[in-house]
């Protein structure tokens, strides 16, 4: 039952300004994911919420208490670490019971809660083992179990799935999501994996160099990235970027570069007026490209030469050369393309993104 508020949050180490003016309101029961490349400040932000890092400036509120000066133990939170941080000298049961023992819960209550959590996570038969006798996935479950027995106000996850192999990671991702739906506890989750962020988060916070780049629901980030960084970070394979000139001809605006000349779609034309004669960045997602057919107007199609073919089964990724640049197109598996084939591709005019070259913001 708690919201988390961060107000003008800042963290400075001796020379590094790791977190800059972060303002974020996490609502009760919400699952918020902080995502970004390493060194973007996401983990530091999480650790400040946990009380493991000093707050250089600003304020954090959990529930209705300002927690800046509270030690971690008094913040009523639980955290799952990347390396699980299981206490090696205690059994699984004692690991899970530790937090409750520290809070002086009566023994029967502890036993009840540990049993309950063990059942939810399917680790009842592991309770008497020591952490080193467990596999990676089992350790992960114990770490989660240790967090949930406490019934905390907020869960904090610091890249909890990074040490698992790919298959297990997908499986645990689904379980975590189910667990959150069941427990309905506010959760803050840090990851560098945008797929994890998109699948888990009610809302996703993209960070870079200590700044928040954009906050939004997963599909909103995907379809309306606020800037070039978010556009390139969210989505896989990543969005294609090409530098183009804005030119006027025949009473319409055109985006122009070697080997490519497309008409600016009507909704964008208004916003692009000011950029006439300047260069901007054009962003096209691989899935917004397709093999041109006779139905596609010539204004939105262009020639490309195949450089790499990656058949994935459900789709084919084509690395193609357009003028000087190489872009990726995601096409139907029925397409038969070979190296050095010359193709004609078309784009979805209404899904094209454009960015200011200087500010990198979406236009």
């Amino acid at each position: 039952m708690a919201q988390v508020m961060m107000k003008d949050l800042n963290k400075k180490y001796d020379e590094v300004h790791a977190v800059k003016d972060v303002n974020l309101h996490i609502r009760d029961k919400e699952f918020v994911v902080l995502v970004g490349p390493s060194g973007c400040g996401k983990s530091t932000t999480l650790r400040m919420v946990a009380g493991l890092e000093e707050i250089t400036g600003g304020e954090i509120t959990i529930g209705d208490r300002i927690v800046n000066d509270l030690p971690p133990k008094d913040r009523d939170i639980a955290m799952v670490f990347q390396n699980y941080a299981l206490y090696p000298h205690m059994t699984v049961y004692d690991n899970m019971a530790f937090g409750l023992k520290m809070r002086k819960f009566p023994k029967p209550e502890i036993a009840k809660r540990v049993q309950e959590a063990a059942e939810i996570l399917g680790i009842q038969e592991l309770l008497k083992r020591k952490p080193r006798q467990l596999s990676g996935g089992q350790r992960q479950r114990v770490a989660v179990g240790r967090a949930i027995v406490r019934h905390p106000q907020v869960f904090l996850f610091d890249e909890p799935l990074s040490n698992l192999d790919a298959k297990l990671r997908v499986q645990m991702r689904v379980e975590l999501k189910r667990l959150h739906d069941r427990l309905e506890t506010t959760a803050i989750y840090v990851t560098h994996d945008q797929v994890e962020a998109m699948t888990l988060g009610d809302r996703v916070v993209v960070m870079k160099d200590g700044w928040i780049q954009q906050v939004g629901e997963p599909l909103e980030l995907y379809s309306k990235p606020a800037n070039r960084f978010v556009a390139g970070f969210i989505g896989s394979p990543a969005m294609n970027f090409m530098e183009v000139a804005v030119a006027e001809a025949n009473g319409a605006l055109w985006l122009d570069t070697t080997g490519l000349r497309v008409k600016v779609p009507a909704p964008l034309a208004g916003r692009l007026g000011a950029y006439k004669g300047q260069r901007i960045t054009l962003g096209i997602r691989p899935e917004d490209l397709h093999m041109a057919t006779s139905n596609d107007p010539a204004d939105y199609s262009f020639d490309a030469i195949v450089e790499v073919v990656e058949p994935l089964g459900s789709e084919i990724l084509l690395d193609v050369k357009v003028g000087q640049s190489v872009i990726v197109a995601r096409v139907d598996p029925t397409v038969r393309a070979k190296l050095n084939d010359k193709l004609r591709l078309a784009l979805h005019p209404e899904r094209v993104r454009i960015f200011d070259n200087k500010t990198e913001l979406a236009i």
Partner: protein, 298 residues
């Protein structure tokens, strides 16, 4: 931005000083005061043989040291002693460690045997050595040892045999510790690195020089450091093995002799204190080495 120190940080700082308090308290009494006394005494002519209070004589004790041939001789002998024994300990210790690096039958027993000289009280094992190397004349093999002593002394000067026996003892005892330290080092290196090196080069010598030695550098540095400090501080072993008749004085034994036998506390303190800066330099050089090894490993 000068952020106000938060409550959590203040708690940490208080706790840190609290945890350090017992150590600092004890050190205040049994280290700081004696060292302070020594520094003060080195500036006076304090002596138990002289009546009246000590007089402040400034740096004259230090000046006298600089022109004292005995001081330079002691320094030279100490450096020779430290270098020779450290080299011997490192060579033997490394040899032991490499021989024991791979499992074989009875390795645990061999390990214990090699460890024994270090674990054994030096105060008594040194007597054993004295007995072995300087037997009373009526003993069975005394003539043999007597000849050996005669040859060494006549080749290198009187007292050389005693000095050699101190070095032998020091190497015997120290190499045992270095072996254990380096073995711990070898065991801490991931075996993949050695396997990888096996693919890279056929020559065992090259592998040793390019892989084993760099990886062991921190351990080697620590070993050398401990070996050198112990050489400088050595007093009891020398005293015992030479039965107090020290012909080749070390800095430590010379200072002891000056203070206790001659009663010149001032010069003795000055002498003892000159070791400090020297050891500090050795320490800094070794840590620089250590650091570089760390960084190149990262």
């Amino acid at each position: 931005m000068a952020a106000a120190r938060s409550a959590g940080r203040a708690r940490d700082i208080r706790l840190a000083y609290l945890l350090l308090a017992p150590t600092l308290l004890l050190f205040g009494v049994v280290i700081a005061y004696p060292v302070g006394w020594e520094v003060w005494t080195s500036l006076t002519d304090l002596s138990p043989l002289k009546d009246g209070s000590a007089e402040f004589v400034g740096l004259s004790n230090y000046r006298r040291l600089l022109v004292d041939a005995e001081f330079w001789r002691a320094t030279l002998v100490t450096v020779v002693y430290a270098v020779v024994t450290s080299a011997g300990k490192l060579a033997l210790g490394l040899g032991f460690a490499l021989l024991l690096a791979r499992p074989f039958r009875g390795r645990a027993l061999v390990f214990l045997a090699i460890f024994l000289p270090w674990a054994y009280p030096a105060g008594v094992s040194v007597i054993g050595w004295y007995w072995t190397l300087n037997p009373p004349t009526i003993t069975a093999y005394a003539p043999f040892m007597g000849h050996l002593k005669f040859y060494v002394d006549s080749a290198l000067g009187g007292g050389a045999w005693a000095f050699t026996s101190v070095m032998l003892f020091n190497v015997w005892r120290g190499s045992s510790f270095i072996a254990v330290l380096l073995l711990a080092g070898i065991n801490s290196i991931p075996p993949e690195l050695f396997e990888c090196a096996l693919l890279e080069s056929k020559s065992p010598w090259r592998r040793f020089r390019l892989v084993t030695v760099p990886l062991l550098k921190p351990f080697l540095a620590l070993g050398v450091f401990l070996s050198i400090t112990s050489a400088f501080a050595d007093l009891s072993n020398v005293w015992m093995l030479t039965a107090g008749r020290i012909v080749f004085p070390l800095v430590g034994t010379h200072a002891y002799w000056l203070a206790v036998k001659v009663g010149q506390y001032g010069p003795a303190s000055a002498l003892a204190l000159t070791m400090g800066p020297f050891l500090l330099v050795v320490l800094l050089v070794l840590f620089r080495l250590f650091d570089r090894a760390e960084r190149s490993a990262a």
